[in-house]
């Protein structure tokens, strides 16, 4: 009687391992073959196929991808867009979350709903009106590196869109987290004479560091990977972020897949680094605010 369930669980365990190994392999095949292809010259894979044994392994694709994709330049563009966006998103959403979670006010829920609902609109649906709004908004050329005379075509427009779009989600996560911080902390501060802004900056914000780090990781990955807004709002190839570098390497008819694989590896690197650096916060952050504790 004791043995039977043990045997059964051993079998189910074995099955689980076989299943997991199989799934892991299935998921790894595309990634590994892309990495493998990235190290091989195009002429070779073209002739012998992607899964053939290597005749020559080279870093040339990475070098070419970097230079032909103009990645020094596009990476700078990406950082110009992503970093201010994240700073603004986290600032706006934490102030908003602070207001709706720490103070009881009639429109708390309505406001929170409004902010979250903004996330549900697909970008493709509202890009036309946004496009026209940016086009109609005058913007001095001195404040941008283009000469369009309007916000359209400037990286600032992309930053604005990102901030507007992401603030809702971050507000939602942050407010849920802030609700878990005991009310007594705020009350004690109030008794000691701390103003609202002091409560925010010196009590609540330090306690929110884990969730802020988690959000920063997520947002970095999302904004870094954005291609849609960059292409729609930035007409000049010069202004576009690193995601366009991969697109640049595909020709009208002919595309060197090995080169593109190498470019994808390079482009994926920074998100991986950010993720690894903030991994613990990221995983901790996922469950933050999942329950009120």
């Amino acid at each position: 009687m004791v043995k039977r369930p043990a045997r059964r669980s051993r079998w189910s365990r074995a099955f689980l391992y076989v299943f997991l190994t199989f799934m892991a392999l299935v998921w790894l095949v595309p990634v590994v073959s892309a990495i493998y292809a990235a190290f091989r010259p195009y002429a070779e894979t073209q002739k012998y196929g992607i899964f053939s044994l290597p005749k020559a392994l080279t870093l040339q694709n990475f070098k070419d991808a970097w230079t032909q994709g103009n990645m020094t330049h596009t990476f700078r563009n990406t950082m110009f867009i992503v970093i201010p966006s994240i700073v603004l998103i986290l600032f706006f959403s934490s102030t908003m979350a602070f207001a709706v979670s720490r103070f009881s006010w009639r429109f708390n829920v309505a406001l929170l709903l409004l902010f979250t609902a903004g996330n549900l609109l697909p970008a493709q649906v509202i890009f036309q009106p946004l496009f026209q709004m940016f086009k109609a908004t005058p913007w001095p050329d001195l404040l941008s590196d283009t000469d369009t005379g309007s916000l359209l075509g400037t990286k600032i427009a992309v930053i604005i869109v990102h901030v507007a779009f992401q603030t809702g989600f971050c507000t939602f996560v942050l407010s849920n987290y802030m609700k878990t911080i005991p009310k007594e902390l705020g009350e004690a501060a109030l008794v000691d004479g701390a103003s609202v802004s002091r409560q925010f900056f010196q009590i609540i914000m330090p306690l929110c560091r884990p969730v802020l780090a988690a959000l920063a990781t997520l947002e970095f990955t999302w904004l870094y990977n954005d291609f849609f807004w960059a292409v729609v709002l930035l007409n000049q190839g010069d202004e576009r972020p690193i995601t366009s570098s991969i697109a640049n390497l595909g020709g009208q008819f002919f595309s060197n897949d090995n080169l593109i694989a190498a470019a994808s590896m390079i482009v994926a690197m920074p998100t991986l680094i950010v993720y690894l650096a903030l991994q613990r916060q990221f995983i901790g952050g996922l469950t933050l605010g999942a329950n009120k504790g």
Binding site: T72, R76, V231, G237, G251
Partner: protein, 453 residues
């Protein structure tokens, strides 16, 4: 409360232990940002990305731009090729040879095309585009500038090219640069080895395909990744069965997609599919071209750009093509797809004089000679171009197109671009997934057509 404190302390500890890394990352990123501010504001507005782009091979070009920039009235030119391709190098060499000061905006081909309607809201003075419905469509919407005055100074183009550059209102909107035909490609050595001959009518074509199959070859290499390559096959079957005018009318929305003529095209197409590589939807044209190169497939109907897939000179010398044979003697075989590329002007360019000067220069010999020296893949449209420098493929292309009575642009250039990307591409892909559903597919096309045309 105790619980909550504990949690935050433990997280606080994590932060401290990783703070170094976070600060370090932020510092690196911040430095990048500063650098971005510094260089972008100064450079990008006035020069081409060539200065930033990798550059040993573009240094000469970058030099020209720098001299051009200070004049202040450089023409802005939008090019649908990004650094790193031969097409980019060719376009750049051509533009440099015009001597007109310009600032290039180089964007990769596919996103330039997908984004063209947004692009035209804020275009460069001069930009690359295609002849055909796609050109006339933008001209009619007032999104392209009238360049009839430029055409007064373009003596080198034949009447056919002028017609191709003319909008519905009779004015010119495009300066053509080059074109390339679609034809049946094959390897001379394979045909010699097996004793095949070039087919000139339907019976010969079917006999050849059957023979190839008996010899263990796939008669036609075939691919449809990206959902555009099979549009070429549709075009040629349609033009061979129903003629050029029907092609034009069908794509202008004047003919019925559910009518007998279109059904006949798909019936023949269905019959021919067994002679093609299976499951084309997941295959890139490069993979299909590789099948031709490795002699797994006997023929490949594609644009002459098929040669750009290989660097093997022996194969390239062996590669040849013939006109798609006639299928109906009453219709003949004198129409084909040969898309024309060119340049247009923005509806209201910032620098109109410069734009017109640039377009006149693009229509001149210096531009095309310099561009062709770098990128001889298509055939120059300029009739004064020195044909003695043609590559064998260019020479044959020019002869093939010269002998044709009617030149079509290509399905997705001869009709509304949205109609193709939203309706036709998927419809053709679905047809290849299951040819038996063609009737309902054609019904769908016919119902949706009115939204676009």
């Amino acid at each position: 409360m105790g619980c909550s404190c504990q949690r935050s302390t433990s997280h606080g500890f994590n932060i401290v232990s990783r703070r170094g890394l976070i600060i370090g990352t932020a510092a690196v990123a911040g430095a990048g940002l500063l650098a971005a501010c510094g260089s972008d504001d100064k450079d990008s507005g006035s020069t081409t990305p060539a200065t930033d782009a990798a550059g040993a091979d573009t240094t000469a070009a970058a030099g020209t731009d720098t001299t051009a920039a200070p004049s202040g009235d450089a023409v802005t030119v939008g090019i649908n090729e990004a650094a790193g391709s031969v097409a980019y190098d060719g376009a750049k060499a051509g533009l440099d040879a015009t001597g007109v000061p310009y600032t290039g905006n180089f964007v990769d081909h596919n996103s330039f095309q997908d984004n063209i309607t947004s692009y035209l809201q804020q275009p460069d003075d001069v930009f690359t585009w295609f002849a055909g419905y796609r050109m006339r469509f933008f001209a009619e919407k007032g999104l392209a500038g009238d360049i009839s005055s430029v055409w007064d100074n373009l003596p080198d183009f034949t009447e056919g090219f002028k017609t191709a550059a003319t909008g519905n209102d009779g004015k010119q909107y495009l300066v053509p640069t080059s074109y390339y035909p679609w034809a049946v490609h094959y390897r001379k050595s394979l045909f010699e080895e097996k004793g095949y001959t070039v087919p000139t009518n339907k019976d010969e074509l079917l006999a050849l395909a059957a023979q190839m199959q008996a010899d263990g070859l796939v008669p036609f290499a075939y691919a449809n990744d990206g959902k555009w390559p099979v549009q070429g096959t549709f075009d040629i079957l349609n033009m061979r069965l129903n003629g050029y005018q029907f092609h034009v009318d069908l794509l202008a929305g004047k003919e019925d997609w559910t009518g007998d003529k279109v059904k006949a095209v798909f019936a023949l197409w269905t019959d021919l599919l067994p002679f093609h590589q299976e499951n084309p939807n997941g295959r890139t044209w490069q993979e299909a071209a590789t099948a031709l190169e490795s002699k797994e497939a006997g023929m490949y109907y594609l644009g002459t750009f098929v040669s750009s897939n290989s660097t093997d000179q022996e194969y390239l010398d062996d590669l040849d093509f013939f006109n798609f044979p006639e299928l109906d003697p009453a219709i003949g075989a004198d129409a084909l797809d040969a898309p024309i590329d060119g340049f247009m002007m923005a509806a209201s360019p910032k620098n109109e004089d410069g734009a017109k000067a640039m377009l006149t220069a693009i229509g001149g010999l210096d531009f095309i000679t310099a561009a062709n020296a770098v990128n001889p893949s298509a055939v120059p449209a300029n009739s004064k171009f020195d044909s003695s420098v043609f590559t064998p493929i260019q020479k044959k292309s020019a002869e093939l197109v010269g002998a044709a009575k009617n030149i079509a642009q290509f399905l997705d250039r001869d009709t509304s671009p949205d109609f193709v990307s939203n309706v036709i591409s998927d419809a053709f892909a679905n047809f290849h997934a299951d040819p038996s559903t063609i009737d309902s597919i054609l019904d769908d096309i016919e119902t949706q057509k009115s939204q676009y045309l």
